[in-house]
């Protein structure tokens, strides 16, 4: 037992360590990037990715998987750049409707005992189709308030850093420090036990999926605020990236083992390793996606070193 504690500590520090390593590599390659302006630029896309990763984390907390979050973000992005801009009330209602559909998907998965991969796979077609129906061609415009918010420059720390810290803190308190947060994670670990204690597993699953939907909406808001216009494919990479982010952040696919702080760190690491690091290494952008893959493999290899031998 005593030998296990440091191993566990090492494992939980691994996400932060990999982020630090990437930042250190960038600092070494280009010390000038280590400034307010540099981080603002390098992390410009960090917030949408971190939000999408947190959305995925809620689903993974329930030992399910969401393959539709990327196209859901595309759909919400199209709504944000059209309806939310022109008639804010209708736009907000549609986004809320999206969150409710997410809760409904959670209910369907629970009630019919369906594999979440397949249901969310079907839903990814649905959201993608709706996105194209809302905005057939790239265009639209982000609401002014959103553009102003996302391009604001708060003192001392760049917006993506403040946003990520806030996001990590809020989700940590919500999921790790409240009673119901423990129930939500418990349902991913031992659903039967949670059910026997009198909690409604249906409500738990709906809550997890609704939270995923909510953070998906937030991710699309951040994304459209930065890019100022939308595209029906704008979030297509996010389904797989968000899964990668959760795993980089120390999450496990089963057992309700997730970490909100880790998920945010995972999202930041993916953002930094994909583009800025490669630019400073003079590696062509062709290898951006590949760098994410290599990073995942490296981190998982490191994690395998620290994991207990009998876990296989």
């Amino acid at each position: 037992m005593t030998a296990r504690a440091p191993v566990r500590l090492l494992r939980s520090l691994l996400p932060a360590f990999s982020l630090a390593l990437v930042v250190a590599a960038i600092a070494w390659l280009n010390p000038r990037a280590m400034s307010y302006f540099g981080f603002n630029l390098m992390l410009s896309l960090a917030l949408p990715i971190a939000l999408a990763t947190v959305a995925q984390m809620f689903v993974i907390a329930g030992s399910e998987l969401d393959l539709s979050i990327g196209s859901f973000i595309s759909f919400c992005g199209c709504v944000v750049a059209t309806w939310l801009d022109q008639s804010p009330l209708l736009g907000a209602a549609i986004l809320l409707g999206g969150v409710l559909v997410y809760a409904g998907v959670g209910a369907l998965i629970h009630l019919r005992n369906l594999p979440s991969i397949v249901v969310t796979l079907g839903m990814s077609f649905v959201w993608q189709g709706l996105a194209i129906l809302v905005l057939p061609r790239p265009g639209g415009a982000a609401p002014d308030w959103l553009q102003t918010l996302m391009s604001s420059k708060p003192p001392f720390l760049p917006l993506p850093v403040i946003g990520s810290l806030l996001l990590a803190l809020v989700c940590h308190l919500l999921l790790m420090r409240t009673g119901y947060g423990a129930v939500l994670r418990g349902a991913g670990g031992n659903a039967t036990a949670i059910g026997r204690t009198g909690w409604s597993l249906l409500k738990v699953k709906m809550a997890l999926f609704a939270l995923a939907g909510l953070f998906g909406v937030l991710s699309s808001l951040a994304l459209i605020g930065i890019s100022t216009s939308a595209d029906p494919n704008i979030g297509s990479n996010y389904s797989l990236l968000s899964i990668a982010g959760v795993i980089l952040g120390g999450g496990e696919f089963v057992g309700g083992v997730v970490s909100p702080v880790g998920a945010v760190i995972g999202g930041l690491t993916l953002t930094l390793a994909a583009s800025p690091l490669l630019t400073f290494l003079h590696i062509p952008p062709d290898w951006q996606i590949g760098a994410n893959g290599a990073l995942l493999i490296l981190v998982l290899a490191a994690r395998a070193r620290f994991s207990r031998p009998e876990a296989a």
């Binding site: 998987l65 393959l67 397949v118 079907g122 077609f125 649905v126 194209i132």
Partner: protein, 312 residues
């Protein structure tokens, strides 16, 4: 009657395929039924090949899935066209290169799963990122047309039936025999039902998994080469729709997502259903958005209606 249908969930996919076919022909006022059927068979082939590969992997048990299939198809299409180099003499070598490329990807996938002890979904996800980057870097500006002989071969018809479809049907029968009548096939099923019990019973679980990921890789590679022949050229995105489609046809076709239970006829039914569904929506004049929307809704509906036996 209903009981019999429940016992053979794949019947629904054939019923659905027939329904979509009849609706299409009705819209066309009975014109061109043979043409629609031939085109559907020709397009279904590519889904069937990817689907069979994915089916073998999914049958290995909970968590087993190959997310690198799309990237694999894309890379193999480029490799095979480069090796063939537009000359009929290179067809055999090109196909062998595509199969070899897929085999290497399958082996790499299993190596990651085995060495890093990580869930297959994340291993194949990371490798798909890397393969995609290799493909983008390798296939940049590559516009190699297939040799005329190979292009003709992929669209050759015998008595109105596409030759490729006939060959793929023979292959499906062979795959069924492989699964039901050979030691390897029984081992795949046994591993999927209970890997621990299978190991105790003397099944070389590791070897079975390794072979299966390689089988899936080879099928993806060949699929890539054939697609490049049929669509007259390789490109990076050629396999994109086949990742989600391969999972969808496996599940709609009645294979259990929990593993240990495979269904080959269902792959054909589901592939024809998906292709005819798109044909039907096209003849109704539906745009890209509506096509995706309905495809998604129907996948979810089929799963919700026929599924509900998840035990994992």
């Amino acid at each position: 009657m209903l009981e019999a249908l429940r016992a053979r969930p794949w019947t629904w996919s054939f019923v659905g395929a027939l329904g979509a076919f009849v609706a299409t022909i009705a819209t066309l006022h009975g014109q061109g039924a043979a043409g629609v059927a031939t085109a559907a068979l020709a397009l279904a082939v590519f889904m069937v090949l990817a689907g069979i590969g994915q089916m073998f992997v999914i049958t290995l048990g909970p968590g087993n899935i190959d997310l690198s299939l799309a990237a694999n198809i894309g890379l193999a299409s480029a490799v095979s066209m480069t090796v063939m180099n537009g000359s009929d003499a290179g067809i055999g070598l090109g196909l062998a290169a595509a199969a070899g490329c897929g085999l290497a990807i399958g082996a790499a996938n299993y190596l990651l799963i085995w060495l890093l002890r990580i869930p297959p979904i994340i291993a194949t996800l990371s490798s798909s990122f890397i393969i995609q980057s290799i493909d983008i870097a390798y296939g940049r500006g590559l516009q190699i047309k297939p040799p005329p002989g190979f292009a003709d071969f992929t669209s050759l018809q015998i008595a109105g039936l596409p030759l490729l479809a006939l060959l793929t049907m023979l292959f499906t029968v062979a795959a069924a025999v492989l699964l039901r009548r050979t030691i390897y096939g029984r081992w795949v099923l046994a591993t999927g039902q209970n890997a621990h019990a299978a190991r105790l019973a003397g099944v070389a679980v590791g070897r079975v998994r390794a072979i299966t990921y390689m089988v899936c890789g080879v099928l993806g590679g060949l699929d890539g080469a054939l697609l490049a022949g049929y669509f007259r050229g390789a490109n990076v995105d050629i396999g994109n729709e086949y990742l989600l489609a391969s999972i969808a046809v496996v599940v709609v076709g009645g294979t259990s997502v929990a593993g240990g239970e495979a269904n080959l006829p269902g792959i054909w039914g589901a592939s024809l259903f998906m292709v005819l569904l798109l044909t039907m929506l096209n003849t109704f004049g539906a745009g890209a958005g509506a096509r995706l929307l309905f495809t998604g809704l129907i996948i979810v509906a089929v799963i919700a209606f026929g599924g509900g036996r998840k035990t994992a």
